[in-house]
């Protein structure tokens, strides 16, 4: 089986989210994956992430997008890393609009079922520049 490349797997994940294809999106994420999301102060697993994404559904958003940029791919011995910038942006229902620039790091593993996501850590850039110095 041609498992494809790490970049192809990442692009499929991005495209699935952009198209609202949640079956394909969550299909790329292993049940035991660790998700450290940009708007929660605690980590979760895939089930918690699915619940959180459900909250961010049509009741609360007229539309939103996750736009990754400046990606760095690394892989070794069936383990993949994707690190880059991303922007969550969109229009909440009954509110103007939102833009949340951040950095993210992902971990992927290559198995007989291809590349699957094991780790996704996202953090708003504001946290990396605010109050970083004591003087």
């Amino acid at each position: 089986m041609d498992a494809g490349t790490l970049a192809q797997a990442f692009e499929a994940l991005r495209a699935a989210l952009a198209q609202g294809d949640l079956e394909a999106f969550f299909g790329a994420i292993l049940p035991e994956a660790a998700i450290l999301d940009e708007d929660l102060p605690f980590g979760g697993d895939k089930a918690a992430f699915q619940d959180h994404i459900s909250f961010h559904g049509p009741d609360n958003w007229q539309g939103f997008g996750w736009v990754p940029r400046d990606l760095r791919f690394t892989q070794y011995a069936g383990v993949g890393s994707v690190v880059g910038y991303a922007t969550f942006r969109g229009k909440p229902v009954d509110a103007g609009y939102r833009i949340r620039p951040m950095m993210f790091s992902q971990g992927w593993r290559k198995g007989s079922d291809g590349w699957k996501l094991l780790l996704w850590h996202q953090s708003p850039i504001v946290g990396h520049v605010t109050r970083i110095s004591p003087a």
Binding site: A34, D39, G80, S112, H121, S123, I132, A135
Partner: protein, 148 residues
């Protein structure tokens, strides 16, 4: 290789920070750099862009160079998972921490956050290596998290 070996590798990499030996005790981040894969990418809690290994070494040298009387990485929670891949083993580390200490000539600092690392077992070197490490301050996870 199991989760214990990965946790040992992680704690060895951060041993000087875990022991509060960065600062007047003169410890360095050499062990952390040994843990980092040469082609890895690293996100630190106090810069707004990812670093390669050379950039991480430069940033750690800045912090190791006498700016702290004492600096400690206090691990609050740590989760370790190991998976087989087609070609070896992957290791996932994630948890929460409090980076705390006394900068030289300033009161004290606490910066709690999330941490994660994606690791690979290097069967040639017989060691775990981090392809990425990400530290992020928690307050950004709750600051401005909602539009209303």
């Amino acid at each position: 290789m199991d989760t214990q070996s990965l946790e040992t590798a992680f704690r060895t990499a951060f041993a000087p920070l875990l022991a509060g030996e960065i600062g007047e005790k003169g410890a360095t981040s050499a062990a952390l750099l040994d843990f980092c894969h040469p082609k890895g990418t690293f996100v630190v809690d106090d810069l707004p862009y990812p670093l390669d290994k050379t950039g991480l070494a430069d940033h750690r040298a800045f912090h190791d160079g006498g700016l702290w009387s004492k600096c400690t990485l206090a691990i609050v929670s740590l989760n370790i998972d190991v998976h087989k891949t087609t070609d070896g083993l992957s290791g996932v580390i994630h948890g929460t921490y409090n980076l705390r200490g006394k900068p030289t000539d300033a009161g004290f600092r606490q910066r709690p956050g999330h941490l994660s690392a994606m690791c690979v077992w290097d069967d040639t070197a017989k060691s775990w290596q981090a392809l990425n490490i990400h530290f992020s301050p928690l307050f950004a996870q709750v600051l401005d998290a909602s539009p209303s």
